[in-house]
Subunit: 333 residues, 2 copies
């Protein structure tokens, strides 16, 4: 299994590839299901979630399946009402210590995700790894406090400065939730866990050391005890590599702005995942091949998992994805 | 004039301070004008724009006034219809080479901005510098192609990859426009020009070298011939410092994520401006003072212009701004 070999630092003859958001809106067969259903309903029905997870594997020679779900999915278990329209929106954004103190586990954490993982594993080729995932507490907190997507996350960043102790209390609860949720995914068959810190890029290094590192490291350490391979992905984090080095993982995902040179230097003991700009899949065929090979060349010198620098975009042409996967598959180490 | 001394690298006994978006929505006297007018009307009326520009100077001991305007203001002269609701929105986003070829100068470029600058200079204390500004072509192009604000700027980044030659043609026209517009501001009394590349952070270094550096350097070189002091501000650009070093300027503005250590190393010949996180103005008084002093200490070792790392937020308490300005004013070099 090429992905697991690479994540474990074992010799491999080629570079494994999977694509963030590979089970999603750029696929016509996904849109066909989406037409008749809501995003929430699709994530909550294990048979549908498993089918969507498997869709990209039928088209492309990918080395992993990543379970179809959302980073907000486990929050319902804390009594939080999340609606997708289409971005995640919080009915009552968290803006007080009182709301944070009231958060408590009200039942099992998204058990349908475990069911979907088991269904996928049954159908998945042995050579393909199964990836589970979760949102990092600091990113979950960003959505919970802001109430939804935002350019500057002013409410969130204001709350962090005005009420740092309340922020720590929230992150503590989200960390406990994440450990239980990700452990359940491993017990349901996930062989790799990716932790998404999608809004890491909002923070300076000192803030990241105080509000991200201790919590995200606690999650990764707990997962390490289970023997699962761990990928830490942080967007817009080229200035946070020394902090990410303090968070245990087998691999670190970098976006299109962080260079392999900088990542290899700060993270000499990790596999590096990434980092083709998703926008490059709109270039002409020759450019796509050339840029993919550039990524492969720049990544040499340590274990590399090919991926985009961020999730694939909805309008991406299918042929561009085929071309990319072929280029990476053909490349020999 | 402390700001100009510092920008020119002359010895100064204290650190000059101004605040991005200091003439704006956090001031009750600004909101009183805004209640009875639209943003466009306010920017287009020289007496009103001058009044708003002067408002923060009456409250705080700032070292500069920055003209009240918007980076989108000059685009009307190219026949582009910009509406603020409240963010800039383009009625017909640019998505084709044909639209780019049709762009041409249709009259004087925002002459009301020149009128406002002259009015401000008449009332401004001699010790206070007057700053004009413009948007960098790559950021203007982001808005023009996307059609408005966006999280990922997918249309813009897609167009850049799919039609690189058309993108260069657009940047060429925006560069010509910017030079004429900023030259007019200097002729109207601006002693400092800040070029805002607010969306620099979208791009990797290679893309920035191709699509930003040649155009932004051409603008800064043209301004250099006029003898005006130049500040280059790029948001989210901690990974682009080597590219920014190729763009002539007296000073570079850094956001709260780029460190002074990294900026001093990459830009040893520039004054560095920044970089307090705007969110820190919501912390308690002791934290604000401590963090402001931390910025002042970290900035030592070269010329420093105190500023926030990005524009001040609407909800910022007035007292926090007073505290900040006092702290910087008291600090001795």
């Amino acid at each position: 299994m090429t992905l697991l070999q690479t994540l474990r630092g074992e010799p491999a003859s080629r570079v494994p590839i999977w694509i963030m958001r590979q089970a999603g809106r750029y696929l016509p067969e996904y849109r066909a299901i989406k037409e008749k259903s809501s995003f929430e309903a699709m994530t909550r029905d294990p048979a549908v979630a498993a089918e969507i997870t498997l869709q990209p594997l039928r088209r492309f020679a990918l080395d992993a399946a990543i379970i179809f779900s959302d980073i907000m999915t486990p929050l319902e278990a804390l009594g939080i009402d999340v609606v997708f329209k289409p971005g995640p929106t919080i009915a009552e954004p968290i803006r007080s210590r009182k709301q944070i103190d009231a958060l408590q586990l009200r039942g099992p954490i998204a058990p349908f995700v475990g069911d979907a993982l088991r269904l996928v594993r049954l159908e998945l080729d042995r050579s393909v790894a199964l990836i589970g995932f979760g949102g990092a507490p600091l990113t979950l907190a960003a959505y919970l406090i802001e109430g939804g997507g935002s350019k500057e996350y002013e409410h969130f960043r204001q709350f962090l400065r005005a009420e740092p102790q309340a922020m720590h209390a929230l992150l503590e609860k989200l960390t406990d939730l994440s450990i239980a949720y990700l452990r359940m995914q491993v017990e349901s068959g996930a062989q790799v866990i990716q932790l998404f810190d999608s809004w890491a890029g909002l923070h300076d290094a000192a803030t990241y050391r105080e509000f991200a590192v201790p919590y995200h490291a606690r999650i990764m350490s707990a997962l390490g005890e289970l023997g699962v391979a761990r990928i830490y992905f942080a967007l817009g984090a080229s200035h946070l590599l020394d902090e990410i080095a303090q968070i245990p993982s087998e691999a670190v995902g970098i976006d299109w702005r962080t260079t392999f040179a900088a990542a290899r230097k700060a993270l000499p003991d990790r596999a590096i995942q990434g980092n083709l700009d998703p926008a490059l899949l709109f270039a002409d065929p020759d450019t796509i091949r050339r840029e993919a090979r550039n990524v492969l060349e720049r990544a040499r010198g340590g274990p590399h998992v090919f991926n985009l620098g961020h999730g694939i975009w909805q309008q991406t042409p299918i042929e561009a994805v085929s071309r990319l996967v072929e280029t990476v598959r053909e490349y020999r180490l």
